[in-house]
């Protein structure tokens, strides 16, 4: 291969380095108005009336939209009504010449609320007599909101799990509660909207990782044809899942304001607004695991209890991520069952977050695995090596054959890199010279790498132009991982032109519908479509060139911008000459790609090994050393895979060691630290000299383009459990809740000391 696998410069590197890149928040148009929103002071209320008459009189104030205008329109998979369902939800929007004017106008708006009793956490929502967030009931199911009396959201079983667990030589159980997390993308969920009355097109820029979903939601809500809405997401300042399938109400309201005022409108949430746009919600997981004396896993039973927030959104998908991605996938076991609940609450939207549910679901799982290994008396790494699935094993709910081949090898490589054999010890078995306790942990995490064909397909178009240059239309957004550059590499490779000959139209619904940038699926879904489109274009180039060169098609190849005879490379012509030849002028290649889970199950993989030091006087955990490894099938660009692995230090490590949402459940579930200084995301000082170079294993995946398989989403998900298990190894305390902030660790240490002294 000439281009795939090379460390090419990312196509947006210079634009980002120089500040020239225009993110959604940077876009300004002549006559642009600013939208601001009045937000609900209640977690659940009916909007009785909205009076904007005083505010309308203000000069410079152009238009309003409110919740009552949205009744009957759909977003987050719910048909909106006259109720708001979480504290801080947008109630009234205004468009004005300046932000100050908009805020002044909102002060003059009168809203009459009828406050309703709500439910803020799992326990209060999952009661039969609980107030209902939506009329159907509080339990999310694939069929819609359902009453608690109808039971759980989903369940699945293979074999006979309870019997297997009873019969096995060893069994363990644990219940772990995980906490709420902000995504913390530096660019908020911003948008611009402008209505072109001539072409009858609504043009929107949205800071999004799924422009096609936004397009569908907005078009259907505004009763426009799909292609009367064009959504663009050129440069996106991070997403981590929060911008997937998330057509914020504010986007709809901004679009309506643009239509009403016939002026372009921009909306940029303040950080306090951004923080409640989407959350990783709290959840509880119970596990029972069993194995025989030789360490063979016999049964895995899992129960998941998720808070789902106020909207249907991706609750069920997220629950699936918490359950089926983990219990029937992480380890081989003949008997597996899981049951999951996701309940509506009067809290903000439940959004995807790196490690689509398996981040939090995997924490308790890995703790249970660690307990089971200890119970049997086996080294935890040996236990993993014995039980992780291998290529061809049935995984997940559909039990499709796994195509990920290098799980054992990656576990072993990470264990070697951290010198596991030399460093692993019994819990509490090693004190460092400075008095702190040393601990070590290693875990793996696996996510998806495709989406099934009933969800989406990958589509792309490649156009070869008269000068031999190539335009790829692949509408995925690039929220930072460098997908647009990977698309460029794949297109150059498949057509057979130099890297620099290719331009990419990404993050734009003018390109054919393709999968959203979720589930680490872009590499396979859209990557395969681009490869097929490139192959199609190359085939057509050869078809024309065969006539011009008077050579059979099968004797021709396209390489580096030239069509040449395979036998006699001197016999050649530039691609540009082929395109310029009579009757051609452009060659268009199309690619469409999809798959079902039953056909094949490619799973992304990340392994984390780490060492910690625990100060038993203060409860402070210091991460001493961490190594991340992946088998990504084939790295389209290694430096970019490394960059993904490095990202663990913020969202993954931060989740366990410092980040925590202060939620006031007595006051409407309002979150008190909606900013970036009371909410403690890791800084550079927390990350220096910790991470070893990432380990990249390449066992080509039969499903992926050139063997490549996405891996970004899984990068955080092995870190949290690795730290939890390392802390256990250090001080012998098995934590059953996150985060492990100093106060909680110290409390647990004191409790253990008290217990031991009795």
């Amino acid at each position: 291969m000439d281009i795939v696998g090379k460390n090419v410069e990312r196509l947006d590197a210079r634009a980002k380095a120089t500040g020239a890149a225009k993110f959604t928040v940077d876009i300004r148009e002549v006559g642009m108005l600013t939208a601001k929103f009045l937000r609900s002071p209640y977690s659940f209320a009916q909007i009785v009336s909205v009076d904007t008459s005083e505010a309308e009189k203000m000069p410079g104030v152009y238009g309003f939209v409110d919740q009552l205008d949205l009744v009957g329109r759909t977003t987050h998979h719910d048909i909106l009504d006259d109720k708001i369902r979480f504290f801080g939800e947008a109630v009234v929007g205004v468009a004005a010449e300046t932000e100050e004017l908009a805020l002044e106008a909102l002060e003059k708006v009168q809203v009459t609320y009828r406050v309703l009793p709500g439910v803020l956490d799992f326990e209060s929502s999952a009661k039969e007599d609980a107030p209902r967030v939506w009329p159907g009931g509080n339990v999310a199911t694939w069929r819609g909101a359902s009453p608690v009396s109808q039971g759980s959201s989903l369940r699945w079983e293979k074999g006979n799990t309870q019997e297997a667990i009873e019969k096995a030589d060893h069994k363990v159980s644990i219940t772990v509660k995980t906490h709420t997390q902000f995504h913390g993308a530096l660019e908020p969920h911003a948008c611009t909207a402008s209505w072109d009355p001539g072409m009858e097109v609504l043009r929107m820029n949205i800071s999004s990782q799924g422009v096609y979903g936004n397009q569908e939601d907005i078009a259907s809500s505004l009763h426009l044809n799909l292609d009367q809405v064009q959504v663009t997401a050129g440069f996106v300042g991070g997403g981590f899942g929060s911008k997937a399938h998330n057509t914020c109400k504010e986007y709809l309201m901004s679009a309506i304001l643009a239509q009403r005022t016939l002026r372009p409108v921009r909306y940029e949430p303040e950080r306090s607004e951004e923080c409640i746009t989407a959350l990783r919600h709290e959840a509880t997981f119970s596990y029972e695991l069993a194995a025989d004396n030789d360490g063979t896993v016999k049964g895995i039973s899992m129960k998941a209890y998720r808070v789902g927030g106020a909207h249907t959104s991706l609750q069920m998908n997220f629950l699936l991520g918490s359950t089926e991605y983990v219990a029937p996938t992480y380890l081989r076991s003949p008997n597996v069952c899981y049951e999951g609940w996701s309940v509506y609450t009067n809290m903000p939207l439940c959004a995807a977050y790196r490690g689509f549910g398996y981040f939090e679901g995997g924490i308790g799982f890995a703790e249970a695995v660690d307990m089971l290994a200890e119970e049997i008396g086996m080294d935890p790494v040996e236990f993993l090596l014995k039980n992780v699935p291998v290529k061809g094993d049935p995984v997940s709910t559909d039990q499709g054959p796994l195509t990920t081949a290098g799980i054992r090898e990656t576990v072993q490589a990470c264990a070697d890199a951290i010198r596991w054999k030399a460093k692993y010890h019994v819990p509490g078995g090693r004190k460092l010279p400075d008095g702190r306790m040393h601990g070590i942990g290693l875990c793996h995490a696996m996510g998806r790498a495709t989406l099934p064909n009933f969800v989406t397909s990958g589509n792309a178009t490649v156009q070869v132009k008269m000068d031999g240059s190539v335009r790829v239309f692949a509408g995925i957004s690039d929220i930072g991982q460098g997908q647009a550059t990977a698309i460029k590499q794949i297109a150059a490779e498949s057509v057979g032109v130099p890297f620099d000959a290719v331009s990419v139209t990404w993050g734009d619904t003018v390109a054919p519908h393709t999968g959203d940038q979720v589930a680490s699926s872009t590499t396979m879904m859209t990557g395969n479509a681009v490869k097929l489109a490139g192959d199609d274009a190359r085939r057509q180039i050869i078809e024309v060139a065969a006539r011009l060169l008077k050579e059979p098609e099968e004797n021709l190849q396209v390489k580096n911008g030239f069509v040449s005879s395979i036998a006699d490379p001197e016999k050649r012509m530039p691609v540009s000459a082929v395109i310029k030849s009579p009757g051609v002028k452009v060659i268009t290649g199309n690619g469409n790609w999809s798959i079902t889970d039953i056909q094949a199950s490619p799973r992304s993989l990340v392994v984390t090994a780490c060492e910690v030091a625990v100060d038993t006087e203060t409860g402070k955990i210091q991460l001493l050393n961490m190594v991340q490894g992946t088998d990504c099938g084939r790295a389209i660009c290694k430096t970019r895979v490394e960059g993904q692995l490095d990202g663990v230090l913020s969202g993954g490590v931060g989740y366990v060691l410092s980040e925590d949402c202060a939620i006031d459940f007595k006051d409407n579930g309002r979150i008190l630290n909606l900013n970036l200084y009371d909410y403690k995301m890791p800084t550079a000082l927390d990350c220096v000299d910790i991470l070893q170079p990432g380990i990249i294993m390449e066992f080509p995946d039969e499903v992926g383009p050139y063997g490549a398989r996405g891996m970004g989403e899984a990068t955080l998900s092995a870190s949290a459990p690795a730290i939890m298990n390392a802390v256990y190894n250090a001080i012998g305390i098995r934590f059953e809740a996150t985060p492990l902030t100093c106060d909680k660790v110290l409390k647990a240490i004191k409790a253990k000391q008290n217990k031991e002294s009795i």
């Binding site: 460390n7 410069e9 980002k16 500040g19 995504h183 913390g184 969202g651 200084y677």
Partner: protein
Amino acid sequence: MMDSQKKIKLKVNGREHCFTIGDGCGEIPASETLVETIRERLLLTGTKRPCNEGGCGGCTVLIDGKPSLSCSTLTSECDGKQITTIEGLEDPVTHELHPIQQAFIDLDAIQCGMCTPGITLTAKALLDNNPDPTRQEVAEALAGNICRCTGYEKYFDGILLAAKRMRETANNGKGE
């Protein structure tokens, strides 16, 4: 308040801009922050405003060479100051980038790019004062710049590479 009218001059990336502080049309309110002036009036949107309350460092610019949070600085207080934004680092004639920018590109340090301008300017101030920093010193300098994508790893590497290249250039200059 009529008496608060005041003319100020800012030099942004070497170009002089004059403003009148006041409440009138086209005047800058005394409460306007530097990030607003830079982004909304000068349209230099390379300076980001991720949190607008001093919590993330994304709005960092250099004021007389010192890294400063432009969201927490009043424009009215910048009279006579030299301000450098990310747009001011590229050589306007040769289009050569600052060594920090070039190193970030070479090492593939940038992901989403929202924190990049602030980090670049913070790092420039560091290297202007300390041409040979340790990794720890780089981390200390960047402690106020939040990045959610990269774990800071490749930024550390990039800044150290840029420092090395800048020292080599300086030494070569002496040798000639």
